[in-house]
């Protein structure tokens, strides 16, 4: 007591309690209003009871769909993750190649940097119709939307990280006899790889946004497709678990990428403590 609030620390248990509090508050608010509305009108669809949501989840995750024969949640998850994975992989390759080229080689910087700066300002959603026209309504246009939406950010971010590398390291490599290619392979690439992973983590939100938008407009499966399909029936018992599932997937991807950085680049952690 008597300490300023900026000096008052909490223990491990306290941190868990305070962290869980908003979630608990949200669940309780939902339960209360759901119960109130259902008491008024048992057919209310806006805030379904937890039991209804639970049953729906069970049906989505275990019972094959009458029309397609697939289990919807897994079919949708697989389709969405496939698009997201290919899109992010493509964007990463472009980001890595473009970023290193622009950050390291003056001629390529002069030639490419303005064009990338302009492209990165084009709102990807605005050219989605063009993508549908050019690449068709199949998988390719959705993957391309993610690539076009994410790659310019990755390229610019990595180009900046490469040109921020201390010049001393590049000079040193040259005095050790390295060619440009060897410098890329042994000096630049290993040092920007963890930065690429961080940049991907930052662009996960945007990638999901593009994915769900594309699926909402033209798809026959996928998490975004399902949400926008059942919207017509006000099926909040499907929409809410799907949103929670998407959030969980995004969170898991972020966590995996963070772990990946720790495991694969041990030198990042050394000497920090």
């Amino acid at each position: 007591m008597g300490r300023r609030i900026i000096n008052r620390r909490l223990g491990y248990g306290g941190a868990i309690f305070w962290g869980a509090l908003p979630f608990l508050a949200f669940v309780m608010l939902y339960a209360t209003f759901s119960a109130l509305r259902l008491a008024d009108n048992p057919g209310d669809k806006l805030l379904p009871a937890f039991s209804t949501i639970g049953n729906t989840i069970l049906r989505l995750a275990t019972v094959p769909d009458a029309r397609t024969g697939g289990i919807l949640l897994w079919v949708d998850t697989e389709a969405s993750l496939m698009r997201l994975g290919i899109g992010l992989a493509g964007a990463s390759v472009l980001g890595l190649i473009g970023g290193i080229a622009i950050g390291l080689i003056p001629y390529l910087r002069a030639g490419l940097s303005p064009v990338v700066a302009v492209i990165s300002m084009v709102p990807p959603m605005a050219i989605l119709p063009i993508l549908f026209i050019v690449f068709g309504l199949d998988e390719l246009s959705k993957v391309m939307l993610i690539i076009i939406g994410v790659a310019p950010f990755l390229i610019r971010d990595l180009a900046m990280k490469v040109s921020d590398m201390p010049i001393e390291l590049l000079i040193k490599a040259q005095t050790l006899g390295a060619s440009t290619w060897q410098i890329v392979l042994r000096v630049v690439l290993p040092q920007v790889a963890p930065k690429l992973v961080d940049a991907i983590r930052l662009s996960l939100g945007a990638a999901w946004l593009f994915l769900i938008s594309a699926e909402a407009i033209a798809a026959t499966d996928g998490l975004g497709y399902r949400i926008f399909l059942v919207r017509r029936y006000l099926a909040m018992d499907v929409i809410l678990p799907y949103v929670a599932w998407i959030t969980l997937l995004a969170f898991a991807m972020d966590w995996v990428l963070r772990r990946f950085n720790r495991l694969c680049f041990p030198w990042l952690q050394r000497g920090l403590s």
């Binding site: 201390p166 001393e168 390291l169 000079i171 040193k172 490599a173 040259q174 005095t175 050790l176 006899g177 390295a178 060619s179 290619w181 060897q182 392979l185 042994r186 000096v187 290993p190 040092q191 680049f265 041990p266 030198w267 050394r270 000497g271 920090l272």
Partner: protein, 255 residues
């Protein structure tokens, strides 16, 4: 083996002259200390020797041939900071030079060739006293150990010229003394030509066989950038035993 001639070298930027009229004849195997107040072009001169920049006038000849236009394996360098590659362990840092030379496509050696390179690195690491730290990353090393690693890393390519930019500037007194012994021992063994920038006169005089003092001789108070610095004192320290060897190898009598 590695005589350096600097002929009327100028270094001018848009609005200021940094170096002017620099003329030097440095015999092979000399240990030169570049001293002078800050901002007087010592580091710029070192950057010219490293080909990080090109002089705006004049020529620099290494063994009677013009200096190559970019940094290369003939001239090793030790910077004050960022000397080692943070993503490689100590021994990986040292074999890097061998890997660049032995593997043009991948820049990485495998199997028996990698083991041979590691053996060679081990000898060098032992000579700089880093054997125990071979599997650590640079960030885990103390400042002195990092500079030893930087020196070990350059030695692997056996440079004819070693350039050092305030290599011991960030070290404490005790560590400095150890580093002096180390660098002198290595230099006596390899006898490369050394250029070391230092702001510490005492360090310069105790290590070097020749002290080069940089300073401005002309000053226009209305235009501080109008005149550059030059070598005001070029002082061979003939009382040092090592200089006798250097002079004995000269094809002509010293001036």
């Amino acid at each position: 083996m590695s005589t350096l001639s600097v002929r009327n070298v100028w270094m001018e930027y848009a609005d200021q002259v940094v170096l002017e009229r620099v003329n030097l004849e440095i015999p092979s195997g000399e240990f030169c200390a570049l001293v002078g107040p800050s901002g007087c072009g010592k580091t710029t001169f070192l950057r010219l020797l490293l080909s990080m920049e090109r002089p705006t006038r004049g020529t620099i000849l290494l063994d009677d041939a013009p200096l190559s236009a970019e940094p290369g394996p003939g001239r090793g360098v030790v910077f004050q900071k960022y000397s080692a590659f943070p993503h490689l362990t100590v021994s990986e840092n040292v074999i890097l030079g061998l890997e660049f030379a032995g593997s043009p496509v991948l820049g990485k050696l495998f199997g028996a060739r990698r083991r041979a390179a590691l053996d060679q690195a081990e000898t060098i690491l032992a000579s700089v006293g880093l054997s125990g730290a071979r599997d650590k990353y640079p960030a885990e090393l103390s400042g002195g150990m990092q500079q030893r690693l930087a020196i070990a890393q350059t030695l692997v390519r056996k440079p004819k010229v070693l350039l050092m930019d305030e290599p011991f500037g960030a070290l404490d007194v005790g560590t400095k003394a150890q580093m002096y012994e180390l660098i002198l021992a290595l230099w006596r063994e390899v006898r490369m030509t050394v250029f070391m920038v230092t702001h510490d006169l005492k360090e310069g005089f105790s290590l070097a066989t020749r002290v080069l003092a940089f300073d401005k001789v002309r000053l226009d108070p209305d235009a501080p950038g109008a005149y550059g610095a030059t070598v005001t004192f070029n002082l061979p320290l003939d009382e040092k035993a090592e200089r006798a060897d250097i002079v004995a190898k000269l094809p002509f009598a010293p001036v």
